[in-house]
C-alpha cells in the first residue's frame, strides 16, 4: 500500500509576510532615486561561453525599479555568470547590459550592493575598518560612513563587535557583517547571489527580513537561488534558467496563475498506481513526469 502526500509549492497570493518590524527604518526610502516601474537592469541578448561551452545563451530580461527579481535554477544553470556580468566582473561575449539606464561604469557601480556567492572578509581587519573601507570604495560621503555603519550594526545587534576582527567573530556573525558590507553605502540596486546558502536559520530569517525592508524602502533587488520556495516567498518577478537557457520569465503572479492548477508535487512511498487523466508518463531520473490530456506535466518524486 502506498501513501501519497500532496503539497502545493505555490502559496496563494497574500500569504507572504512582507514586513520586518524589527528592522524597519534601517533603510531610508528617501535616498532611493528610482522611479517605481522604470528599468533598473536591462539585459539584451547576452551570451557567454567558457571554452566553447555556452554558459549563458542569449539572455534577455529586465528588472524594474522597486521590485525583487529572482533568478532561479539548478547548480550550473548560469545564475552566477549572469550576475557577474551584471557586476562587470566578467564581460559578456555579446549582448548588452545596462544598469540604471546606462552601460555599467564607475558611477553605476557605486549604486550597486553586491553579495557574491563566494563571500568572505579580511580576517585581520576590524569590522569598523572593513565596512569603512568598502563604503569609501563606493564613494560614500565620508561624513555619512560612520553613522551609517553604527546604525546598521546597532539594528542588527552587531554594534558590540564593531572593534573586533573578523577572525574573532563566529561564522553567523561574519555572515551578518557581509550583509552589512553589501548595504553600507545605501545602494539603489542590491544583487544577492545565493544569499541564503550556508546560512543558519536565524540569519536566513534575518536576511529575508532585510530583503523585504529594502524593497519597502524602494530599493531594487536581484537575487539568485536554486530554491523555488525562496523565490515564491520574496520575489515579484522570476527568471528561471537551466543549462544556460531561459526556461521561464515573468511575473510571479502570472506564473502562479498559469501553473497553480496544473502542477503538483507528489512525494510517495512505493508505487504510485494509476492516476486519473494521465495519458502519458516519462522518466526524468529520480522524477517521473505524468501528462494529462491538457499536456500539463505532473511530477512525482
Amino acid at each position: 500500500m502506498s501513501t501519497i502526500r500532496l503539497e502545493s509549492q505555490l502559496p496563494a497570493e497574500g500569504d507572504q509576510e512582507k514586513t520586518a518590524p524589527g528592522l524597519q527604518g534601517a533603510f531610508d526610502s528617501s535616498t532611493s532615486e528610482l522611479i517605481p516601474g522604470t528599468k533598473t537592469v536591462e539585459v539584451s541578448s547576452v551570451h557567454k561561453s567558457f571554452a566553447g561551452k555556452k554558459v549563458v545563451d542569449e539572455f534577455s530580461f529586465e528588472v524594474k525599479a522597486g521590485e525583487i527579481f529572482g533568478m532561479v535554477g539548478p547548480n550550473g544553470a548560469g545564475k552566477t555568470t549572469t550576475i557577474r556580468m551584471l557586476m562587470d566582473i566578467i564581460r559578456p561575449d555579446s549582448g548588452e547590459v545596462r544598469i540604471l539606464g546606462e552601460p555599467l561604469n564607475e558611477s553605476t557601480k557605486d549604486k550597486i550592493g553586491y553579495l557574491p556567492e563566494e563571500r568572505g572578509l579580511y580576517r585581520k581587519v576590524t569590522v569598523a575598518e572593513l565596512l569603512g573601507y568598502l563604503a569609501r570604495l563606493k564613494n560614500t560621503t565620508t561624513g555619512k560612513i560612520s553613522p551609517r555603519i553604527d546604525n546598521l550594526l546597532e539594528r542588527l545587534g552587531m554594534l558590540p563587535h564593531k572593534t573586533k576582527k573578523e577572525e574573532q567573530l563566529s561564522r553567523g556573525m561574519g555572515q551578518i557583517i557581509q550583509f552589512i558590507a553589501t548595504l553600507v553605502h545605501d545602494p539603489q540596486l542590491v544583487v544577492l547571489d545565493e544569499p541564503f546558502s550556508g546560512l543558519n536559520p536565524v540569519n536566513r530569517q534575518t536576511l529575508k527580513e532585510l530583503v523585504l525592508e529594502l524593497k519597502n524602502a524602494g530599493k531594487t533587488l536581484v537575487l539568485s537561488t536554486h530554491q523555488m520556495n525562496e523565490v515564491e516567498e520574496l520575489c515579484d518577478r522570476v527568471l528561471m534558467i537551466n543549462k544556460g537557457k531561459v526556461v521561464l520569465y515573468g511575473e510571479l503572479s502570472e506564473v502562479r496563475s498559469r501553473f497553480r492548477n496544473n502542477s503538483i508535487f507528489l512525494e510517495c512511498e512505493g508505487p504510485i498506481g494509476e492516476l486519473t487523466g494521465v495519458v502519458r508518463q516519462k522518466s526524468h531520473g529520480q522524477f517521473m513526469g505524468y501528462f494529462s490530456m491538457e499536456t500539463t506535466r505532473h511530477r512525482t518524486s
Binding site: 553586491y114 563566494e118 563571500r119 581587519v125 568598502l134 570604495l137
Partner: protein
C-alpha cells in the same frame, strides 16, 4: 577620492601593521646596532694600553743616517752592531729594529726585525722609516720646499670641462657617484623583493578570504592592481627611508667609535655633503685623486 588612492592607503596601512614588515624593518637596524656593540665589546676585551712612543732601532752600515731620529710618535735609536740591537729587542727595550746594509744606495733594501707576528709591516711603520731615510738622504742637498715635494709629489685635483663651452663644470663627489647608486640600487632591490612578496601575499589572502569579488564589484581590476602596487611600493619606500636613516645614524656613531669607519666616512653620502670639492693637500698624508676628502665625524652633525 580616486579609488586607487583609497586602496593605496588601505594597503599601506595594512602592510605597515604586518608583523613581518615590522620585524624586517626593525631587524636591519638592530643587526647593525648589535654588530657595533659586538665590535665595541671585542675591542674592549682586546684593547691594550696605547704606547706613548714607539722605539725603533737601526744599524747603519753606510754611515749616512744620523739625523732626524725624532719623528711623530717614533724614536729611532742607532746601534753600532746588530747583536746589540737584537739584545735590546729581546729585552723589550725597543719594539723592532732594521739594518741599512752597505749596498743600500744601489739596492734600496732595508732588513727589518721584529718579534711581532705580522703579514707585513704596517703602513705607518713603512711611512715613518721611509721618511727617516728620505730626510737623511736629502739633508743639506735640497731646500725644505723641494724636500716636501719629493715626499709628496702629487696632489691631484681633477676638474671636468664642459665639452661644448670648455668651462669648468661641477663634478659630483666621485665616491658618492660610484657608491650611492650601488647603495640605493641594493636597497631598491631588497624593497622590490619584499614588497612583491607582500603583493603576492595580499592578493592570495584576498582570494583565500574571497574578498576579491566584492572589491571587483566596486573597482576595476586596473584600479585594484594600481592601488596595491602603489601602496605596497610606498611601504617599501618607507622601509628604505627607515634603513637609510639608520645607516646615517649608525655611520655617524660608528665613525666616532670605529677608526676604520672614520676614513670611510659617510660624508660621501649626498645627505651630508652637498658641496664636495677636492680636498687640499694634507701634510703627512698621501692624497689620491680618487679619494674622498677625509671627513671628521663632526661633519655629520653640521
Amino acid at each position: 577620492m580616486n579609488k586607487a588612492l583609497i586602496i593605496l592607503k588601505h594597503e599601506l596601512g595594512q602592510t605597515v601593521r604586518r608583523k613581518s614588515f615590522i620585524h624586517l624593518t626593525v631587524s636591519i637596524p638592530l643587526i647593525a646596532i648589535l654588530g657595533m656593540l659586538v665590535y665595541q665589546i671585542i675591542q674592549g676585551m682586546e684593547a691594550e694600553p696605547e704606547k706613548e712612543e714607539e722605539r725603533i732601532g737601526y744599524v747603519d752600515a753606510t754611515g749616512m743616517f744620523n739625523d732626524y731620529k725624532e719623528a711623530d710618535g717614533i724614536t729611532f735609536i742607532h746601534y753600532s752592531t746588530q747583536d746589540k740591537a737584537k739584545g735590546d729587542l729581546l729585552a723589550e727595550e725597543i719594539d723592532e729594529y732594521f739594518i741599512i746594509p752597505e749596498n743600500y744606495l744601489a739596492t734600496g733594501q732595508v732588513i727589518r726585525y721584529t718579534t711581532e707576528r705580522e703579514l707585513q709591516a704596517s703602513s705607518k711603520i713603512r711611512q715613518q722609516i721611509s721618511e727617516f731615510l728620505l730626510n737623511n738622504l736629502l739633508d743639506d742637498k735640497t731646500s725644505e720646499e723641494l724636500l716636501q715635494r719629493v715626499k709628496q709629489p702629487l696632489n691631484l685635483a681633477s676638474l671636468q670641462l664642459d665639452e661644448t663651452t670648455g668651462e669648468i663644470t661641477e663634478s659630483p663627489n666621485p665616491v658618492s657617484a660610484i657608491f650611492v647608486p650601488y647603495i640605493f640600487g641594493l636597497l631598491f632591490i631588497f624593497s622590490i623583493f619584499f614588497t612583491s612578496g607582500y603583493l603576492l601575499q595580499s592578493v592570495s589572502e584576498e582570494k583565500e578570504n574571497r574578498v576579491i569579488e566584492i572589491l571587483l564589484s566596486s573597482v576595476s581590476a586596473r584600479q585594484l592592481l594600481a592601488g596595491k602596487v602603489l601602496g605596497l611600493g610606498a611601504a617599501g619606500l618607507l622601509q628604505i627611508v627607515v634603513w637609510l636613516v639608520t645607516i646615517v645614524v649608525f655611520a655617524k656613531v660608528a665613525s666616532m667609535n670605529i677608526p676604520v669607519l672614520s676614513d670611510l666616512s659617510v660624508c660621501c653620502l649626498p645627505l651630508s655633503s652637498p658641496g664636495w670639492a677636492p680636498s687640499p693637500a694634507q701634510p703627512g698624508r698621501a692624497n689620491s685623486g680618487l679619494a674622498c676628502s677625509p671627513c671628521p665625524p663632526s661633519c655629520l652633525s653640521s
